[in-house]
């Protein structure tokens, strides 16, 4: 009886945890969304875009008052002329692209209903603390980050055999604004930690893996050269000792004669 109750409790816990959603699993709208065209009398602002997106995906946005001001006054910069229709499966990436192009950061706050996300303008004082919004992504999920240009991610990459301190300092110039992107060598380990917007994190991971692959290939060539040198040295030393042994035997024969 006790055992059955324990099993039941475990089953309930498993069911509950299985229901917890993935924070990057954004709802896809049922139909395309249309951003109205810019006109002389004005057009869609970032605030309008957020409202369209929220309504279409059933999510709710929170913004501080400084960000609200920027969202209201910033026009969506992409569509001169006609209106813009976005296919349901492209809504998320397009929405994020338009946000980041206008200096806004998206942060999902909840993975379950009600789905909440926050928008932060990089033109406000929050720019200094925006890195605290970064979502940790394990190295094997970095590919998922590429589809989220307005979300900040943090990941750690292990690069055995690489001098990561040297590497981090040599590519530091690629991360000019440390509030939104950074690459850190972690002490004397072979790991680097980095944060930045999704596509940047993926590109940097790809670059680091290319460096590692090149380094591994060079090490392999060096190792095989060393092995070949060692083998040839061993062969030479063996033939020299054979020659010495042969010379010694001849001397003994001559002495005997």
């Amino acid at each position: 009886m006790k055992f059955s109750i324990a099993c039941l409790a475990v089953a309930i816990l498993v069911t509950e945890s299985a229901q917890a959603g993935d924070i990057l699993d954004f709802p896809i709208p049922d139909s395309p969304i249309v951003i109205p065209a810019q006109s002389e009398s004005g057009g869609a602002s970032i605030a309008d875009l957020i409202a369209l997106y929220s309504e279409a995906t059933g999510q709710h946005c929170v913004m501080d008052s400084a960000t609200q001001g920027y969202a209201n006054s910033t026009p969506v910069s992409s569509q001169a002329g006609g209106s813009m229709s976005i296919a349901p499966e492209r809504v998320q990436v397009t929405f994020e692209t338009l946000l980041v192009a206008n200096d806004f950061v998206l942060t999902p706050l909840t993975a379950d209903e009600p789905r909440l996300f926050s928008i932060t303008s990089l033109n406000t004082a929050r720019r200094n603390t925006v890195s605290s919004l970064g979502i940790f992504l394990p190295a094997d999920r970095v590919d998922d980050a590429a589809a989220h240009p307005a979300i900040l991610f943090t990941t750690a990459i292990d690069l055995p055999g690489i001098d990561v301190r040297n590497l981090a300092s040599s590519i530091r110039h690629m991360f000019p604004d440390q509030n939104i992107s950074q690459l850190l060598a972690v002490g004397s380990t072979s790991s680097v930690a980095m944060w930045g917007f999704g596509p940047m994190v993926k590109r940097t991971r790809d670059l680091l893996m290319t460096v590692k692959a090149t380094n591994d290939a060079e090490n392999k060539v060096l190792r095989s050269q060393r092995d070949a040198d060692e083998a040839s040295r061993r062969a030479q030393s063996s033939s020299a000792s054979q020659a010495r042994a042969k010379g010694g035997a001849q001397a003994v024969r001559l002495a005997g004669a």
Binding site: S4, H60, T67, Q68, L109, T110, T154, D158, G187, A193
Partner: protein, 186 residues
């Protein structure tokens, strides 16, 4: 006998799950579009056993507008988590007390007041996200000094100190969990 207990429990679970998926038996509260953080906390207080109180000097945060585009409907069962997520977004943490939790600006929270928790509890995401906690974890293998990890923890507003080969992390539960996950990847 066992079989009948098991089958009736299974039936009850299925019924519960069915009702939940239909939205039955789930009370919900409505957060108005123009709500402030203070309004959400007031709603949470009216629907739960313990009470969230604003620490002096953090009351100004209560006036912070959420900028919601429209009203937000929150099931009562999710109200605690949603309130914590919003407090964390507003730069606040919750210091757990005896039936009365205090809301404090994250920058003003003293590590001495943090609730000590096992890191397994944090990794299981079993605590509301803004709960102010302290936990320990072993220093990742080849890291010579904890100072090398400090910058990484500070990124999430987590305070890091080192005691021998153990690290002490203090901050909001959600942020400390992110740091733990990063450290385990090193």
């Amino acid at each position: 006998m066992r079989l009948s207990i098991a089958s009736s429990t299974l039936a009850a679970l299925l019924l519960l799950s069915g009702c939940q998926s239909l939205g039955l038996g789930r009370a919900a509260v409505s957060v108005p579009a123009e709500a402030t953080l203070g309004d959400v906390v007031a709603l949470a207080n009216s629907s739960r056993a313990s009470t969230l109180v604003w620490e002096r000097d953090s009351e100004q945060y209560a006036l912070q507008s959420l900028g919601l585009g429209g009203p937000l409907r929150v099931p009562v069962s999710r109200l605690d988590d949603v309130t914590h997520a919003l407090l964390l977004w507003g730069g606040l943490v919750v210091i757990p007390g005896d039936g009365q939790d205090r809301i404090v600006a994250a920058d003003d929270a003293s590590p001495a007041e943090a609730r000590q928790v096992d890191r397994a509890l944090l990794l299981a995401e079993a605590l509301p996200p803004a709960t102010f906690v302290m936990t320990t974890c072993p220093q990742p293998g080849e890291v010579e000094k904890p100072t090398h990890l400090r910058r990484l923890a500070e990124q999430w507003g987590v305070h890091l100190s080192g005691v021998d080969d153990n690290l002490v992390l203090t901050g909001a539960a959600d942020r400390v969990t992110r740091v733990l996950r990063t450290f385990s990847a090193i």
